[in-house]
Amino acid sequence: MEIAFSRRTLDNGLDVLVHQDRNCPIVAVNIWYHVGSKNEKPGRTGFAHLFEHLMFEGSQHYDHGYFQPLQQAGASLNGSTNADRTNYWEVMPRSAVELALWMESDRMGYLLPALTEAKFNNQREVVLNERRQNYENRPYGLAGMALVAELYPPDHPYHWLTIGAAEDLRAATLDDVRGFFQQYYHPANASLALAGDVDPDQAFLLADKYFGELASPVAPAAVVVTSPPPRTIEKLLLLEDRIELPRLYLAWHSPELFGDDDAALDLVADVLAGGKTSRLYRSLVYEQRIATEVAASQNSREHSGYFHVVATAAPGRTLAELDIAIAAEMQKVFAEGPTVAEMERGIAQAEAHFISRLQTVGGFGGKSDQLNAYNVFLRDPSFFDRDLARYRKATAADLRRAATAWLGANARVALSVVPHGRPELALPGSLPVSVH
């Protein structure tokens, strides 16, 4: 699937990518900054995401909130932060493109003059409430924190989740905001994509008009991220939570995004738990009925991934039973690899999923977002075909080899999440962890 685009790099280092698609009279503007929670320091976790919130609070030349003029112009808009990058997007009628570029460029260039203590304190409260809503008050909501804290050593930038620690958010200061902005929010550390009903020449002119004047310090030195030390001893952890059905999380280090074996492990996840014919669903949910749900995924990130399998026990069943059943199915994959039918299914599903994401010009996962992803992580926005080819050319032998190499029993972290006061429901030998 060809996504035609043009690229120019402005004098200040900003990459501008334009893809024309006249299917619908709308345009997506999408900006990636190559900064995320991996750029944070211990003691200041959660900061990249808190900063993202401040980008919506007004900038020097329009200090009345970011949403009002854009919603008024018919835009939908949002932003998100993960470990590796922060993105911001608008999707709007083509008549409002110039407005979006004005607004995005103003906050890229002139955020700090409009920043106040009051805004900062307000958004810190909002983020603390986001954390309560999506992590603390959600069943199993702290499991992800416990897993990455064990998978990565404390000085590794994937040791914490993007939402960060509440006490770190409380410790953040306005000076932190200023320093972060100056270091990471400038043209040479960003990529701008426009997709939709837009003329490329016009788009480049407008991009240059609004972004061309912005200062261009050199791009920050890339974070030096070493591979986490290989895991050779199984680790068993337990976390008590306000839940009724215990849940088992198994996690392993895995390849980085677009790395060798990344696509193969995506397909392994599909063989294990993608849909009702997957091995774990069939064994645990359909046949033995010991689990209510299973999932598996290859969570690949820029510098290192982790693969995980998650299963929730049916009432009265134990995590030890789940563990045995999961191990048995994984052993079969190690020993025999996937079947021809599984390969056919996995590749068809990967292709359908890939094309589905390209139905929209913008938002999270639309064409503009994907262009930026390829540009920021690979310096190659034309990667679409080769991305899909990674899946199409994978073989059963590749999957078997990748699963065997990465998903060994000694390399895993097994986290049992159990109801409060019921530590005996964890896998035997599990050590309690404290997450809050």
Binding site: A75, V91, P93, E125, N129, K209, Q359
Partner: protein, 453 residues
Amino acid sequence: MRADRTRLPQSGPLAPFQFPAIQRSSLDNGLRVWTIEQRAVPLVTVLLLLRRGSAADPQHLGGLAAITGDLLDEGAGALDALGFHEALGRIGAQIDTEVSADATLLGLTVLSRFAERGFSLLGDMIQRPRLDRADFERVRDLRLNRLVQMRDLPPALADRALTELLYQGHPYGHLAIGSEDSLRAITLEHVQDFHVRTYGPGGATVIAAGDASHGELRALVATAMQGWTGSTADARDDRVLSAPPAPLARLAMLHRPGAAQSELRLGHVSIARSDPDYTRLLVLNMVLGGQFVSRINMNLREKRGYTYGARTSFDTRRGPGPFVLQASVQSDATADAIREAVREVEEIRGPRPITAEELDTGRAALTRGYARNFETAEQVARAATQMALHDLPDDYYSTFVQRVLAIDEASATTAAAEHLHPERMLTVVVGDRDRMGESLGTLGLGEALELGP
């Protein structure tokens, strides 16, 4: 060119919006077939709409419509449950079953080169589900387990409490999944009977949209569905049209010791989808709580920092649907958040009428970005299901913008005065009572009705 940062650029004129053409026809068995060409990517979406959903659950059998929908893909035609999913997986097809109060919607999205096989599988699901006993028992157990997990999920607890308290004794008075008691009371025979009575070509509409011509899409539907026999009657049920009794309390509390936040729902029964004031309330809602810059979100989130977000909606249905305000707020601000939310609802009715600027923003959000809602084949097909469900006119979407622009601020404020009723709003709190102290007592909502888990 240099940027002029002294003022914002003006948006140019808006391109007129035209909903894609729908070609309508019927099969000999009465099934309505609508086709829409949408050729941007090589995908096809097909949706089958039945105008019957969880409101059709018999009393004490809440969850019957939903479990019936859930069982359709557990084996159909010549294939057992795993065989059926193997067949779907091989063509990368995604299926989706949604049972809401008024409707059952079955959908499939597939690469267009596999459309014929995909449509055929969807046809099997609808016409020839196996509905085997072992599958029924397994799926019922899974749904019971989901109910167990919902006991730990504050948004689900709050939704359930609001639904049950606002619609006591009414067909809308239970969640689509039902309750533990009602699910246990459902038998396979109930499911088989429900399938026979509800699934038939008479009241159904199939909408196919995507990368194929009208003729090809219609032929795909015809091949898959022309043998469908069964009920030819429209299955709609008029019991939903009645108004439910007033709730027994104004404040209900579900105590969760140690909860990190309070999950709030404030609401009352409101209009049906067919109400002539529907469009006025859409505009009103944008100003009140329907978008980021709405009054309630700007107050509770951006001014006070009590929450990650607060919003309102009119969940319009065939019968009177609920108006709901929802937010998850920090525990120690629960009473203040409720007070502010209620104050916003009171003020927009007249004391602080909608301003010209607010109206403009609200209308713009609905009209200027309207084309965004119809970018993909699935979005277009889903929009068409609303036309089929609520008997909307053919030009409904193409004339939407002009209807919204005809509403002025006085009209929207009047709609608020007529349709928002803060004095009979029910407030549901799911949170740690002990962290709110006596504060809830200061709200003037009377004694809290204590709810069990």
